[in-house]
């Protein structure tokens, strides 16, 4: 009985949607979660258990529509091992950046649908749409948060 009670305590922490574990689990299931402070209304991505605006702990989980615009970006050629393993690197650079969502929160993510060979043509302010990038490697599936440039003259399919 004591062991069961302990397991339940651990699961309660793992399942708390305001903590990182649940955020990552939600991403795997194709959901981008944010938390909203019920006292002051502020939104947070990733979700937080404590509001840094009013310091209350009255948070609820909500989702976002997934529409936004690019506010900062980079195209990386000197890649860390994580990206080298996915086949990125000097000959295959990748874009990541910060997206301002319509709801008013920002998120760092992979940016798809841009011409990484011509980074000077990637425009800040370009509209982007949420997409979950699935990478399968050695039989293991990983889901990464990404946004795709769709309705831009510079979009690449």
């Amino acid at each position: 009985m004591r062991v069961m009670a302990e397991v339940n305590e651990f699961n309660k922490v793992a399942g708390n949607k305001l903590y990182g574990a649940a955020f990552r689990q939600a991403l795997k299931n194709g959901k981008l979660t944010v938390s909203r402070c019920l006292k002051c209304g502020a939104l947070f991505l990733p979700p937080r258990p404590i509001c840094p605006e009013c310091h209350k702990c009255d948070m609820t989980i909500t989702t976002v529509k997934g529409q936004g615009k690019l506010v900062a970006f980079t195209v990386i050629t000197a890649a860390p091992p994580l990206m080298l393993e996915e086949g990125y690197g000097r000959d295959n650079p990748y874009c990541c950046g910060i997206v301002l969502l319509d709801e008013g929160v920002k998120v760092t993510a992979r940016i798809l649908g841009v011409d990484v060979r011509q980074p000077e043509k990637i425009k800040i302010g370009t509209p982007v749409t949420l997409e979950f990038q699935e990478i399968v490697r050695n039989g293991e599936k990983k889901t990464h948060l990404a946004f795709r440039v769709t309705n831009s003259p510079y979009a690449v399919q």
């Binding site: 990182g20 955020f23 990552r24 947070f44 991505l45 990733p46 840094p52 506010v71 900062a72 970006f73 980079t74 195209v75 990386i76 050629t77 000197a78 890649a79 860390p80 091992p81 994580l82 990206m83 080298l84 990125y88 000097r90 650079p93 990748y94 990541c96 950046g97 910060i98 920002k106 998120v107 760092t108 993510a109 992979r110 980074p119 000077e120 800040i124 990464h144 948060l145």
Partner: protein, 423 residues
């Protein structure tokens, strides 16, 4: 928000030492480098130092864990210096580790717990491959969104740079000006990793190509050279190789003493009159991307404690881990209005003979950035300059009454500012 704070008692800087920054053989450990910087520091204490007067060590060290497979390095260092059983604590605040170690040493003396404290930092980075170093430094990024996006350290500053460029019209040439200036300064600093200006790097390339019988390239000037992908490849757009600080090995340390005993060590003590430190959220959660809130906050605390304004600063060593970071430091420390720092760079205001010399040491860019050693290395440069002991790179035309150092951890998630005064 800002509460007026004063040190409990005066604290003086009475010695500073550094190793040559660069690539040391694999056999050399960071603890060896620290001992080397300690011996250099001892030479700087002009009335001599009896090691037994040291009461504690605060050591900045980012990741001997991954770079060298060693932890608990503060105890290891105090043992190597023959100073056990004195207390020793390691501070890890990413690239701000020894800037924060310095501040903690100041606080230890100001509190009255210690009279004489050693603060320093060290890093042995070059045993790893470039990709492994990129990963190790990247561990200071936000693990929830930034790291899985493929962000790297150059990447996150490049991301910030695009926001700065979009907001203020900052150009790649403005970034190049920081690199050109800092390499030129490092050429005058024998302890720097790269003791060569970009103009001379360019000349050497031309000569080496000519020796191979290759027709010499037609670079007009340093900017032309830096725009050449074959010489200065993009690391993370818009940052190129020469926008990035160098990966190297090194150590630095300084000796701090209570003001009332400072003259036992030197007739020319410098005084630590202001210190400030702040933290921030990952970039995505900041209201503003093109400036660093923690830098503004740490600076405000330090100016208030020192009872000076940004315009009173005569010389500064700032955290140019990437060229864009020096431009933002100039703005966020209040030296220039947002978006105006680049005009000062274009006019040469921050050169050694300018009205506000910045990074006379060569900065992280060219002196080198052995992460944990950087903060106290900045203090070391201020010590040299303010005492008129900086050799060929000495600022000559003005009296250096107030020196400021800014050390940033990660992408501004930590910032520490310390102010020195000569009386």
């Amino acid at each position: 928000m800002l509460k007026h704070r004063k040190l409990g008692r005066g604290v003086a800087l009475v010695g500073a030492g550094i190793t040559k920054f660069g690539v040391y053989p694999r056999e050399v450990r960071a603890t060896d480098l620290f001992a080397e910087s300690f011996l250099d520091m001892k030479k700087s204490v002009n009335k001599g130092l009896d090691d037994r007067d040291i009461e504690a060590l605060y050591l900045g060290n980012y990741s001997s864990d991954l770079f060298e497979g060693e932890v608990h390095t503060a105890a290891s260092v105090i043992s190597r210096l023959g100073l056990a059983p004195r207390p020793a604590a390691r501070i890890e605040d990413a690239c701000a580790s020894s800037g924060v170690a310095f501040r903690e040493a100041v606080i230890a003396i100001a509190s009255g717990v210690c009279d004489v404290v050693l603060a320093g930092g060290m890093e042995k980075m070059t045993n790893l491959t470039t990709s492994e170093v990129t990963r190790t430094l990247g561990l200071a990024l936000d693990p929830v969104c930034e790291a899985p996006s493929g962000e790297t350290f150059p990447g996150i500053f490049a991301t910030i740079a695009t926001a700065h460029m979009a907001k203020y019209g900052t150009t790649p040439e403005d970034l190049m000006r920081v690199a050109i200036k800092n390499h030129r300064n490092a050429a005058l600093n024998p302890k720097a990793h790269f003791t060569v200006s970009i103009a001379d790097i360019m000349k050497r390339k031309v000569a080496s190509l000519a020796a191979k019988g290759v027709p010499p390239p037609s670079w007009k000037d340093e900017f032309d050279f830096l725009r050449d992908d074959s010489q200065n490849p993009v690391i993370a757009y818009p940052l190129r190789l020469f926008d990035c600080s160098t990966v190297c090995d090194g150590a630095s340390c300084v000796l701090l003493a209570a003001e009332d005993i400072a003259r036992n060590f030197t007739d020319e003590p410098l005084y630590v009159t202001g210190t400030g430190q702040a933290s921030d959220d990952p970039v995505q959660e900041r209201s503003e991307i093109a400036s660093l809130r923690a830098v503004k906050e740490a600076a405000a605390q330090a100016y208030d404690m020192a009872n000076i304004k940004a315009t009173d600063v005569d010389i500064a060593e700032v955290h140019d881990c990437f060229t864009i970071a020096e431009i933002m430091a100039m703005e966020n420390l209040g030296f220039y209005e947002p978006g105006r720092a680049v005009y000062a760079l274009r006019d040469g205001e921050t050169e050694i003979d300018g009205i506000l010399p910045i990074n006379t040491s060569g900065g992280l860019k060219a002196k080198g950035h052995p992460v944990g050693a950087t903060g106290t290395a900045m203090v070391m440069e201020l010590f040299k300059q303010m005492l008129g002991d900086a050799g060929a790179r000495q600022v000559k035309y003005k009296d250096l009454a107030h020196g400021l150092m800014l050390n940033i951890g990660a992408h501004g998630t930590t910032a520490v500012v310390n102010i020195l005064e000569k009386r």
